[in-house]
Amino acid sequence: MVNQKKTACGVNYDQYIYRKILTIVILVILTFLTALFAITAGSADIPVTEVLKALFGLGAAKNVLVTVNIRLPRILMAIVGGIGLAAAGCVMQSILKNPLASASTLGISQGASFGAAIAITFLGGGTVMGNTADAVTVNNPYLTSICAFITSMFVTFVILGLSKARKASPETMILAGVALSSLFAGATALLQYFSSDVQMAAIVFWTFGDLGRASMQNIQVAAIVTAGALIYFMFNRWNYNALECGEHTATGLGVNVSRVRLIGMTVASLTAATIVSFVGIINFIGLIAPHIMRRFVGNDYRYLLPASALMGALMLLISDTFARLIISPVILPIGAITSFLGAPLFLYLIFKGVSHNAEN
């Protein structure tokens, strides 16, 4: 329920708020429609009515298998992963006062890659089943995910530890992230250099990112972490708004800036690390989705957070559907597609621009 607010100059505050809410509602509808299209589209030619039946476990066993076991987990992971990565990116950009902040720029993705590479090289996590790209597989996904998660969280804690020692300034966090990102990228390259062809193929395959590798249990874990993070972020939306006016102003408004920054970073990194460890590297969503929505709803985190999260889900869903359909039955790597589709859109928005004026 929005309060009926009208400023003395006759401009309706309600109307301004409704526009932001309408943007969020449109994103919900678009995400739902895209999910509906995604579940009906694929190399297996299943009519829409059969897909809907299959969702309830009815109809031919093959249809149920394709719809419920293959397409549905991908779609759910795209929605959960997109929401998590975009919300985490949005908060990182706020608390680090840096428009380039995301899981990738802070070394979390590179940390995860290194963990996965360790699992594949030393712990027998990967192998090749044949000669095609599809035959490369990570044969122990749990082990790989756990290693990826541990190393990405290690990166997070090193950044937080260094920042705590330096009073958690955004510059320290960003610089520590850049340094660790470079360190782990180098370490992964060294592991690849000394690994066998099979292992190297598996490492590269893992870093491509693939929504299809997440099991329903993985999705449940990611959903719980993402939901918890979103609740925490929304609870802190006024703190993020206060930070928009500067650190000292925020402190003067009663915000414990260091605490908001450290806990926010931990929760955002945990969310990103969980998703990345299940599906591999997915670039750009955490960076671009919040930026796109800033152009539509401004920097008011009451609306920017849910709008960014939904935009992340929509972008990942569209990218995955595109990756599945464009040269079906081959599925293109999702990380490449998110960058491929996201970058031109982002450039268009930067140069063409959407009106910044809240009054328009």
Binding site: C9, Y16, E244, C245, T251, V255, D300
Partner: protein, 251 residues
């Protein structure tokens, strides 16, 4: 009533930035903090609402030491306007609504919106209310930040060089606004300011900081060429023009 008692602050080294700072500000009174660059004026202001925690001393607002309060409670007692506010894509209305943050639990109540709109109307900010603050001029932004501070319903208002980036017209407008607010709302106001003539025109008392300590504190009687010359190391004369003291540098 704001009372500062034996306030001390220093960074890592032993050198003190602030030493034995003691003064008081009555409700409805505006005190100008004056002194050279690096004298500790802005640091002192930040110590007064614990943006920087002082090592010693007390900051008493209506008989309560606010340095012992939680950050949220401090924000309900003192409001701070930074020297340079950062622009962002949030509307002036929402920026002023942020002043209600210390009082907001989950979402703003009807009362919060009413307070914000009363301030917008009283300060004549209606035309700006739905514009993003990064599109406002320096003077407009400063007024919005003062409005945001007033939305906190503070007992003490701390302003760090609120006119430093403004043209003459906006300097006069903003300081007149602050003067009116001080009297109307009976708030104790502490303002860091460089322009001695603006301070003379709009402030009630004056505090000179020199070498980390208070050099002198008082009313118009301390605004002498000797005191000003000693603090700034610049020869000046203090003349009277239309019953108003003015400081004229001699170099």
């Amino acid at each position: 009533m704001l009372k500062i008692d034996a306030l001390e602050f220093g960074y890592r080294s032993n050198r003190k930035i602030l030493d034995r700072i003691e003064f008081d500000v009555a409700n409805g009174e505006c005190v100008a903090i004056l002194g050279n660059n690096g004298a500790g004026k802005s640091t002192m202001l930040k110590c007064l609402n614990k943006i920087i925690a002082p090592q010693k001393g007390r900051v008493v607002v209506n008989e309560v030491d606010i340095l012992r309060m939680t950050r949220l409670d401090i924000a309900k007692n003192t409001a701070y306007v930074a020297q340079k506010s950062e622009g962002s894509q949030i509307t002036a209305y929402d920026a002023i609504l942020l002043g209600r943050k210390p009082y907001i639990k989950l979402a703003p109540k009807k009362e919060d919106y009413e307070i914000v709109e009363t301030i917008i109307a009283s300060m004549g900010l209606e035309q700006l209310s739905l514009r993003y603050i990064d599109e406002l001029s320096g003077g407009e932004l400063q007024k919005v930040m003062i409005a945001r501070a007033l939305a906190q319903e503070p007992k003490v208002l701390l302003l760090d060089e609120p006119t430093s980036c403004l043209d003459l017209k906006n300097q006069l407008e903003v300081l007149k606004l602050i003067q009116n607010i001080t009297k109307e709302k009976e708030i104790a106001v502490v303002i860091v300011i460089h322009d001695l003539n603006l301070a003379l025109r709009y402030c009630d008392r004056f505090l000179f900081l020199k070498d980390s300590e208070i050099f002198c504190y008082g009313g118009l009687d301390i605004m002498t060429s000797e005191n000003i010359g000693a603090v700034y190391q610049v020869p000046v004369v203090v003349e009277s023009y239309q019953n108003q003291k003015v400081v004229i540098p001699l170099t």
